[in-house]
């Protein structure tokens, strides 16, 4: 078994629009160890959700470019034809809890029928009774009473529906689960409850998560590593313990100083300006325009530099460090 579960190299996802190509995910590379959680943070429109869709190959029709390598457990799944990807990868090895998941359940089907469906499709030899046992087990894990299986989605509260979608993502026992803003639509206490559930799943089953969020506070509940996205690019990736106190990219630092905290009294700073359009992004560093540390070199595109503690930063400030070359 590979220690490294997921390796993404030079992933690109461009959409075709009337105004020109939108570079939603541009040359993103990262690695993720088995059993760890990577939180992808960034402002809205920075390509977080596009990244998750690119990994699961859930693509709209107006694709212009979709390239790079996605290596799951040693195999490049980008090379799989659609049919094989559907049979072997999607929901079998990689599952997803979509954004606003509580509204993504089918309102006219009972919860059970929806959760059991991926299980029966992916395991042809499983009969319904075995499936039911498995679904019941999942319900116990996410902390829902069994009789809720026979209810319709509208009979459940928002937090319970969210748990049901998490049960649905976990039911096929996937190796990687992508959580797209799992808790942002929920109330504070429900959110804390949900993070407890996810944490327990992570500890008990060693599931690997990619957590997409803009809330760094909640991300810190689950994340072993943090990746920061800005305008379609991954500008920094590092271990969570260093990120909160010692982020390196100027954007990550500003992002951290704009997070209000309850326990610590700090002065909040906002980032002036707006992220660049992804249709014709600047050729140099995409953050340069809003950055107070920019210098002449920033008009060229920065490479990724390797820093201590396994920290990777795409910024010219760290020219003295070693450059990272991706395969």
């Amino acid at each position: 078994m590979n220690k490294m579960l997921l390796e993404v190299n030079n992933l690109k996802l461009y959409f075709r629009t009337k105004k020109g190509p939108v570079q939603a995910v541009d040359d993103v590379s990262f690695k993720l160890e088995r059993g760890k959680t990577l939180a992808v943070v960034g402002e809205s429109g920075c390509g977080k959700t596009s990244l998750s869709k690119a990994i699961l190959r859930l693509l709209p029709r107006n694709i212009m470019e979709y390239s790079g390598e996605i290596i799951l457990d040693g195999e490049d799944i980008m090379k799989y034809p659609e049919d094989r990807f559907r049979r072997e990868i999607r929901w079998k090895k990689i599952a997803m809890v979509p954004q606003a998941a509580m509204n993504s359940l089918n309102p006219v089907l009972r919860i059970l029928d929806q959760i059991i469906e991926p299980l029966l499709i992916h395991n042809r030899d499983m009969n319904r009774d075995q499936g039911l046992a498995r679904v019941k087990e999942m319900f116990r894990i996410v902390g829902l009473p069994e009789d809720f299986l026979y209810r319709y989605p509208f009979e459940l509260s928002g937090g319970m529906r969210q748990r049901a979608t998490i049960a649905m993502a976990l039911v096929t026992n996937p190796e990687l689960v992508i959580l797209d803003e799992p808790s942002s639509a929920l109330d504070l206490l429900t959110q804390a409850n949900l993070m407890n559930v996810l944490k327990r799943i992570k500890h008990e089953f060693g599931t690997t998560f990619i957590l997409i969020t803009h809330d760094i506070g909640t991300a810190s509940e689950l994340a072993d590593e943090i990746a920061v996205m800005y305008a379609g690019e991954m500008v920094e990736k590092c271990h969570a313990e260093y990120f909160y106190t010692d982020a390196r990219h100027p954007y990550s630092r500003k992002l951290m100083s704009s997070v209000p905290t309850l326990r610590e009294d700090k002065e909040l700073v906002f980032i002036p300006g707006q992220p660049p359009s992804l249709i014709n992004p600047p050729t140099g560093c995409r953050f340069a325009e809003r950055c107070d540390k920019r210098f002449a070199k920033c008009s060229e595109h920065p490479p990724t530099f390797d820093l201590e503690h396994d920290q990777q930063v795409q910024c010219w400030l760290y020219t003295d460090r070693e450059e990272v070359k991706h395969a």
Binding site: E43, S44, S220
Partner: protein, 345 residues
């Protein structure tokens, strides 16, 4: 001599301290009907709320969804008529307002909605959006209108102004839309702003920008701002006082510093524990969360509304008698039986 000056100013201020807004035993209930005809009960969205707000103060109201905080906002705005209890604006009972009074009241209270895009008419330009309230409130002079639109856009920092005037809401970013909503709320020079989750739809970096803008407007115009939120971490930067709401009632009122240092009500404490600050230590611990769900407002529990979920419940008391308000220190009060011995009623 300087002491005398201070003294005089203080006496003056004390004399002036008529609350801008005062609520006495405010109830807003919504009737539920069966088959559209028979009365099936009431949803008690607001069930006995008292408070006083003074000129130039910001009050945060925190609580989960369904605790009645938006109903409180809408009742203050005059969109719901209170079922019971009274609201006083500058000492005048709102139930006795004439039509003209109500119009004047609405002009002096600005409303900032949660979703800026949903709050802006998509077919009107920025100029029209800002001009409409002026026209309705009888600013007939075109130049005067122009001038006020200019100055309010400057205040919310939407510049260059000429670029923005002909734009439609969809051409603005989320932060700009929210600033336009604020500009619209400010254009009639209100005394009070009601902001219902003004930043929850925005990105973290923009969030801070909007909160700082509201703060600066408040300081400049000495406004009362009622800031409704479920996000405890923003209140520290924004308000003088915090009200915690649970189950259609206020359960704790306190000055921001006292509340942050020492939350008293078990529900406020639970909210505190559930809020995560970015910290690597979070990874290793589980959150303490009270079990259960918020109460049904059609059939609220007897006694304290939080007792079915409370870990510190006093059996035989919390589940039978409603807790009165206990004052702890100078600037904090709590509706909880745990503080019966410490506080004065």
């Amino acid at each position: 001599m300087p002491d005398l000056a201070v003294d005089m100013r203080e006496t003056l201020q004390n004399a002036e301290r008529v609350p801008v807004l005062k609520a006495v035993d405010l109830h807003t209930w919504f009737e539920i009907r069966k088959f559209g005809f028979f009365k099936a009960g009431d949803v008690r969205a607001l069930d006995g709320v008292d408070f006083e707000l003074y000129q130039g103060e910001t009050v945060s109201i925190v609580g989960e969804s369904g605790c009645g905080k938006s109903t409180l906002a809408r009742t203050i705005l005059g969109l719901h008529r209170p079922t019971k209890g009274k609201l006083f604006f500058n000492g005048k009972d709102m139930a006795e307002f004439t039509k003209e009074d109500m119009k004047a009241y609405r002009a002096s209270v600005g409303y900032i909605q949660q979703d800026p895009y949903g709050a802006l008419p998509p077919f009107m330009t920025v100029k029209k959006i800002l001009e409409e309230p002026l026209l309705i409130n009888g600013v007939t002079d075109k130049n005067e209108r122009q001038k006020r639109i200019q100055s309010v856009l400057e205040e919310v920092k939407l510049s260059p102004i000429e670029d923005f005037l002909p734009k439609f809401p969809h051409m603005l970013s989320g932060g700009q839309q929210q600033r336009l909503v604020i500009a619209r709320a400010m254009i009639l020079q209100p005394k009070m702003l009601v902001a219902d989750e003004p930043v929850s739809m925005l990105d973290a970096s923009v969030r801070v920008e909007i909160l700082q803008l509201l703060r600066s407007l408040q300081e400049k115009h000495n406004l009362v701002i009622i800031y409704i939120t479920h996000d405890l971490s923003t209140v520290r930067y924004f308000s003088e006082r915090i009200f915690t709401m649970y189950g259609a009632r206020i359960v704790e009122k306190a000055a921001t510093a006292s509340l942050l240092a020492n939350p008293l009500h078990p529900y406020t404490q639970a909210l505190f524990k559930a809020t995560s600050d970015p910290d690597a230590a979070n990874l290793k611990t589980f959150k303490e969360v009270p079990t259960g769900e918020p109460p049904s407002l059609m059939n609220p529990p007897k006694g304290c509304r939080f007792h079915p979920r409370c870990a510190k419940i006093i059996k035989g008391k919390c589940d039978r008698f409603e807790p009165p308000e206990f004052h702890i220190g100078d600037d904090q009060s709590v509706f909880c039986w745990l503080y019966e011995d410490q506080g004065k009623q």
